[in-house]
């Protein structure tokens, strides 16, 4: 006997993600799912954003890594609430892991929550966490062919940050062709060129974040 099912395989994750979003909304928290390949600058971006918005907004952080708590320790020094999730081998965060982390954060004291996903451009794109926006950090040393290699990630991102632009004079990376390719499959994506090392372009990113918080 054949039974027609026609159900999304990740439907259970989607349901938990929706519950997370409702929880965040009820506490007035704006959540950003930060995704990138390893070493593109997720933790640096969070650190620079904390410094840039000091005294302007209350930030909290969920740190996702396969193992270790190095990132959480670095972020913790900035005096913001931070929870480390170790996925224990899984290459991405999922909605359930995020829920457990949310239960351990003082959400009433947080206006802007960064969820730093595991460094991975494939798996993280599939799993909704309950975030309000997906932000992808790409970086100049990775090369400008990445949209073609990871189309789902670039298609789903609300914001694409091109980090490490201070290295442009030393590397072959065509920013214009790169942005053109992204806009081809994602016409709504905001694209910002930044350098966490020099601070270049950071103001645009911070303004975008503040604007998102204002619109809520």
């Amino acid at each position: 006997m054949e039974i027609k099912v026609l159900k999304d395989i990740l439907g259970a994750n989607e349901q938990i993600a929706e519950r997370n979003r409702q929880l965040l909304d009820s506490k007035g928290v704006f959540a950003v799912n930060l995704m990138s390949s390893p070493g593109a600058g997720k933790t640096s971006l969070i650190l620079e954003t904390i410094k840039g918005l000091k005294g302007k907004t209350r930030i909290g952080v969920i740190e996702g890594d396969v193992s270790s708590s190095i990132d959480a320790e670095i972020i913790g020094k900035e005096g913001v609430p931070v929870i480390q999730i170790n996925t224990g081998g899984e290459c991405h965060l999922d909605a359930n892991m995020t829920y457990r982390a949310l239960s351990n954060l003082p959400l009433q004291d947080i206006a802007l929550l960064f969820i730093e996903n595991v460094g991975n451009l494939i798996c993280t794109a599939e799993f909704a966490l309950g975030e309000h926006r997906k932000v992808l950090i790409s970086s100049v040393p990775e090369g400008d062919d990445k949209p073609f290699k990871y189309p789902l990630m670039f298609h789903k991102a609300d914001v694409v940050l091109i980090n490490k632009i201070d290295l442009l004079p030393h590397l072959k990376f065509d920013v214009q062709a790169y942005s053109h390719a992204i806009r081809g499959i994602n016409e709504k994506a905001e694209i910002f060129e930044i350098s966490c090392a020099t601070g270049q372009g950071m103001q645009q990113w911070l303004s975008w974040l503040q604007n998102q918080l204002r619109l809520r």
């Binding site: 006997m1 054949e2 039974i3 027609k4 099912v5 026609l6 159900k7 999304d8 395989i9 990740l10 439907g11 259970a12 994750n13 899984e90 290459c91 991405h92 999922d94 991975n120 494939i122 798996c123 599939e126 799993f127 062919d145 073609f148 990871y150 189309p151 789902l152 298609h155 053109h180 390719a181 806009r183 081809g184 499959i185 016409e187």
Partner: protein, 113 residues
Amino acid sequence: MHELAITQSMLDLVLEQAEKAGAKKVGKINLVIGEMCGVVDECVQFYFDFLSKGTIAEQAQLSSTMVPTMARCRGCDKSFELKEFDWACPYCQGNSMAIIAGQELFLESIEVE
């Protein structure tokens, strides 16, 4: 690597549906997988063999229909398969397109006894 989590979710869904139908055994599982999801069906099979042990879905045959990534050109409205490294419309060379297929990841049906 996301295949492990995806296979576990798929198996949970299969067992839930089979149980609801009062099935004693699951013979075949029909999946639809969009190319854009980057899911490797051999990996799904590998994890499935491991995860399904001792369940009524053990030894079920997995059948995956792969869906190519399709786009619709915003310029000329024609549809085409999105080729790797060539994201221009083959009809008008336009660059702006909407993805219309290739993100599927669902359980189509199960065959049970």
